[in-house]
């Protein structure tokens, strides 16, 4: 099904975001940032 294919391929198309406005950046929580691999070594925490 073509719809399914195009929606999955679209998922891979990424672009840079605009930067946040100062007022949003001030209250931004970095925990909201998701990555597909958690590379920080947590064992020592």
């Amino acid at each position: 099904n073509a719809g399914g294919i195009s929606s999955t391929s679209q998922k891979n198309i990424q672009s840079r975001n605009w930067y946040l406005h100062d007022s949003q950046w001030v209250i931004f929580k970095d925990d909201e940032i998701v990555s597909t691999s958690n590379t920080l070594d947590n064992t020592a925490k």
Partner: protein, 451 residues
């Protein structure tokens, strides 16, 4: 104004020869480092098989391939390391491997910062100072990496050197909470936020546009930009307990490009409430130490000033290489990197659809002085000679906003003017984000990029 030609992506002839891309094995003894230089046309792949190896304080995972291009960095063996590498352009006999004599000072500094973090909710504010190529940026990066390595701190990295782009293009000043691992492969330390999840954690920088390349071109504007950045950083620290406790690591421009009076440094010291100042210098009695001490003491009585030797990992860089990094930062802003491929978007607009301002450049146009405020922006006529290939900052101020509002507005992002057609009065602009051109004012930067 500087021209930044595009990166030539044609494969090198070496790639066509069979067998040149062979895998080499390398053992690096604990405490030694391999100084690596890879140019833009070649690619170095490294895989650590055993032991602990670090690049700017970030540990390399074992059995994972890391790729590098257009980069200079040192791989430090924290434990005995054995690794495999391949790169046709690097001759095996010519590897630069030597003892690292400064790592212990960096550790000690890190541990004293840890103590300060443990002792107070108001973490250390560290300002790193020194001549060009003394390892200021490398030290800042290493301290950020160490801070997040064992504890869940989030130090704020602040880049005040407009000639370097970190998580952004050059020509701006930035502040970025380092909330997860940095990308060892990236000369700009990693990516700012993209529209989807990236493999490696991306970062959320605060970006203030200076627009010029050299501080001397408009020192007042530089200081004003610096203050705008510090105002917002202060608010973030008030709102973010973790960043507040982790503190700030501030990288500064080389001493040679700043004023003899140390105005930029005293302003930074004051604005960011700096309490730790590190001077990178090999001179035991560097007169700069006394000078810094005298100047800073008039502002605050409670700060630590210490000298560290020039980092032993430092590799000479020339202007050509620095330019190539600025170019790479622009390319990565729009197109991403091999690991995070981005799709920018080109739109066509009429001359009438854009409003562009520019900062005053007192070195290029010394006559533009007297009646004007130095921080004032001047209107730019839309025409090929002014805008062709120009990198423009897009501000949050409306397109029709007055000059002072544009100067004070946050930065939304950057656009690249790829074509200016005088006859048809049309432009083509490359935007990072698909969609319409934001109806916002633009600021012309000193940077050019030829695709």
């Amino acid at each position: 104004m500087s021209i930044l030609p595009g990166i030539d992506s044609t494969p090198t002839t070496n790639e066509l020869f069979e067998g040149t891309n062979e895998i080499h094995k390398l053992e690096i003894e604990k405490g030694y480092e391999w100084k690596v230089e890879v140019n833009a046309e070649s690619k170095l792949v490294i895989e650590v098989k055993s032991g602990i190896a670090e690049i700017f304080g970030t540990e390399l995972a074992n059995d994972i391939e890391y790729s590098f291009y257009n980069n200079k960095f040192s791989i430090l063996a924290v434990e005995d390391v054995s690794l495999e590498w391949r790169c046709p352009e690097i001759p095996e006999q010519k590897l630069m491997i030597g003892e690292n004599k400064t790592a212990k000072y960096v550790y000690n500094l890190h541990f004293s910062l840890e103590k300060m973090r443990a002792a107070s909710f108001d973490g250390p504010k560290v300002m790193i100072v020194g001549g060009s190529n003394t390892g200021k940026t490398a030290l800042a990066r290493t301290l950020c990496s160490y801070a997040i390595k064992y504890k869940s701190y989030q130090p704020m990295f602040i880049n005040l050197n407009p000639e370097e782009g970190i998580f952004s293009v050059a020509g701006c000043l930035t502040a970025t909470p380092i909330s997860d691992i940095l990308d060892v492969q990236s000369t700009i330390w990693g990516h700012s936020m993209t529209s989807g999840a990236t493999m490696l954690h991306s970062k959320q920088p605060l970006v203030k546009t200076f627009g010029l390349e050299h501080i001397k071109e408009n020192q007042d504007l530089y200081l004003a930009t610096l203050k705008q950045l510090s105002e917002v950083v202060k608010l973030r620290l008030q709102n973010d307990v973790l960043v507040h406790r982790s503190g700030c690591i501030i990288d500064t421009p080389p001493i040679s490009v700043m004023d003899d009076d140390l105005t930029e440094l005293t302003t930074t010291f004051k604005e960011f409430n700096v309490n730790v100042v590190i001077l990178l210098s090999d001179e035991q009695e560097d007169p700069l130490l006394t000078k810094l001490n005298d100047k800073l003491s008039t502002i605050s009585s409670s700060f630590n000033l210490l000298r560290l030797p020039i980092l032993s990992g430092v590799i000479e860089r020339d202007d050509v290489f620095k330019r190539s990094l600025q170019r790479l930062a622009i390319r990565e802003y729009f197109y991403g990197s091999p690991s995070v491929v981005l799709s920018p978007y080109t739109i066509g607009v009429d001359f009438e659809d854009i409003t562009v301002w520019r900062p005053i450049n007192f070195i290029e146009n010394p006559e533009e002085t007297s009646q004007l405020l130095p921080t004032q922006l001047l209107p730019v006529e839309v025409k090929p000679t002014t805008l062709q290939h120009a990198l423009v900052a897009i501000s949050y101020a409306d397109r029709k906003a007055n000059e002072s509002n544009v100067q004070l507005a946050p930065t939304l992002g950057f656009g690249l003017i790829t074509e200016v057609n005088d006859k048809r009065r049309k432009l083509r602009i490359l935007l990072p984000v698909p969609g319409r051109l934001p109806d916002k004012a633009m600021i012309l930067t000193a940077y050019r990029y030829l695709e």
